[in-house]
Amino acid sequence: MSVLVGTETRLCVSGITGSEGSFHTLNNRAYGTNVVSGVTPGKGGQDVEGIPVFNTFHAAVEESGANTAMVFVPPPFAADSILEAADAGIETIIAITEGIPAHDELRVYTQIKRMPGVRLIGPNCPGVLSPGKANVGIIPASFFKEGNVGVMSRSGTLTYQIGNELAQKGFGNSSIVGLGGDPIPGTSFVDVLEMFENDDQTELIVMSGEIGGDAEEVAAEYIAEHVTKPVVGYIAGFTAPPGKTMGHAGAIVSGSKGTAAAKAEALEAKGVRVGRTPTQVAEIAIEILGG
């Protein structure tokens, strides 16, 4: 098995006729992902290298049986596209678009949370790769092979970096999940921890966090209570400049949370080993799983 994307994935790409959209769609298809359709309003009836394009997600779902969406449209239109995919009955929506307004993300998150069975990954994320099965997004798949390590990360390129370090040590991956770096991600570490815990293929979970928010602290609590599989952590930003706080209100809300040190400490307090460099993450993985 794998999580979120795999052999069952039937992908519809929103923004398929854009240059980046078509480039990555074709990349994903070349990898073996079952790309069944695309959506570009006004270009219904056309095709992109044989992939049929529809005017609406509703038509795409009805005609092509899509169950997964990849959203590639520019920021002003991305929230609308995500909501459309959800309304049309798409189950897994992977939003790559960077720079979506925060209030749009807030409305989208709140709406989708109320729609049972619909999951949003991202926005501002690199997507999800289940090596050997499907790649949805912009993760350079050639670096990764099938295996037993599940990776989840708030950062895009850092995910590749860590995946690459693991690969160089001989590890393959069940799935690599990019959660995105925006203030309101659709899916959090806790959600993916639950998936990896229930995934037969995954034997070790790597969690790559960064400064800001409290997603890592919340995940630490969750791991202690619900996760039986070993978890290795990484936190970026130990030497990063202190982030801009949002006035006094922001400081009151976040309290002392949010620093890399606090996050690493929270994880270690729950027995999660935290690597200090991507390389060290791979070394810990070897110790746990054997080389």
């Binding site: 925060a102 709140t110 390129t157 590749y160 970096q161 690459n164 400064i211 928010g213 949002m246």
Partner: protein
């Protein structure tokens, strides 16, 4: 994007939040003219995007034109915690009976907006939060339902607001929420909200942070950006669409993706180096973004060596390589570079770079190796 006090108040006024009247001024003459128009006493306030200007002498009450001129002259150009005062706000003086605190902020943990209200305004609210958190009433808002009157009332009752002010404070919070939503703010903060002797509610200060990603929908707000108070390198980076933060060290850093750049800083530090900046060239970095990035990094005279750490996803390594070649042609950097290219089109990218044979450019196959080399180069050693 942070706004100056008076810009925030202009936003408030758009949504009928009561604010004292005032006039902005950039020179002593303008300040005196503004004071004459407003009448005395009036307040001469430094406009800087940092707290604590009162203690720093940036806020003075003028009783007449002479004092207004004197204070304006003293405050203009003043340095407050590293921020130079370029602008003043001349405001009618307010009579104050009580000082409250009100704010609405994006709460990432709860993934919703948090409204805060306290009667302990005017002082250090963070201290209040630590010592007597119950003195700050808080409430999360459902963004689809919106902020309801009962929620405003509940906050007011829980904060212990006087009975006669429950309704006006509730209305104040509702208008503050309207502002937060309509202007797509990440933060609206008023400290203090004042109660006048006539029991009127007014915003005496403002702190507003707008969502930069939403400015395309708010053309008039986009124009509020004040480049005069930005670091020249940061300004150059912003103009070119790069995320750049200046740091104290001597190793220039460029990466693609905030996480990878942060990780690069950490690894450089672990090898004993000291980063000169954080620079995220972003997803899909094109050749011209790379050229700009090199210019921005090298315009910092402290930089002794530069680390390029690229792991291509949406970014293509061949584009980065070409960008670097172009940057070398245009900017002719004098410091050594360590370049690590991995990911999409990395083989092609590395070949382009090897063929170009740029002066002072070293390559590395891993991030650790790259960090080690650049630290050595910054120390003047040969890696």
């Amino acid at each position: 994007m942070d706004l100056l006090e008076y810009q925030g108040k202009q936003l408030f006024a758009r949504h009928e939040i009561p604010v004292p009247s005032g006039i902005p001024a950039r020179t002593v003459d303008e300040a005196v003219a503004a004071a004459e128009k407003i009448g005395y006493p009036c307040v001469v306030k430094a406009q800087v995007k940092i707290g604590g200007r009162g203690k720093a002498g940036g806020v003075k009450v003028a009783a007449n034109a002479e004092e207004a001129g004197e204070y304006a002259d003293a405050i203009l150009g003043m340095d407050i915690k590293g921020f130079t005062v370029h602008e003043l706000w001349i405001e009618e003086a307010s009579e104050i009976e009580a000082e409250y605190y009100a704010a609405i902020v994006f709460d990432r943990s709860a993934r919703s907006a948090l409204v805060m209200l306290s009667t302990q305004g005017g002082m250090d609210i963070e201290q209040v939060s630590e010592e007597t958190p119950e003195a700050i009433a808080t409430l999360h808002v459902d963004p689809l339902l919106g902020f309801q009157p009962f929620e405003a009332r509940r906050l007011a009752f829980e904060a212990g607001i006087d009975a006669d002010l429950i309704r006006p404070i509730g209305e104040f919070l509702t208008k503050l929420y309207d502002t937060f939503i309509a202007e797509e703010a990440m933060l609206v903060e008023v400290n203090p909200v004042i109660i006048t002797p006539e029991r009127k509610v007014r915003a005496l200060d403002s702190k507003v942070t707008l969502d930069e990603n939403a400015l395309f929908r708010h053309k008039e707000n986009a124009e509020l950006r004040d480049p005069s108070d930005e670091d020249p390198q940061e300004q150059m980076a912003r103009d070119r669409g790069l995320t750049y933060v200046k740091l104290d060290g001597d190793i220039g850093i460029l990466g693609n993706g905030a996480g990878l750049v942060m990780s690069t800083l950490d690894v450089v530090a672990q090898y004993g180096g000291s980063p000169a900046n954080f620079l995220d060239a972003g997803g899909g970095s094109k050749a011209d973004a790379i050229t700009s990035a090199v210019e921005v990094i090298c315009s910092n005279e402290k930089v002794k060596a530069v680390l390029f750490n690229i792991f291509g996803g949406i970014t293509r390594c061949d584009e980065v390589a070409n960008g670097l070649i172009e940057a070398f042609a245009q900017a002719k950097p004098t410091v050594p570079f360590v370049v690590r290219l991995d990911g999409t089109n990395d083989v092609v990218g590395r070949k382009i770079l090897a063929d170009a044979n740029l002066p002072g450019v070293y390559t590395a196959s891993t991030m650790n190796e790259a960090a080690e080399k650049v630290v050595a180069l910054a120390k003047g050693e040969t890696p």
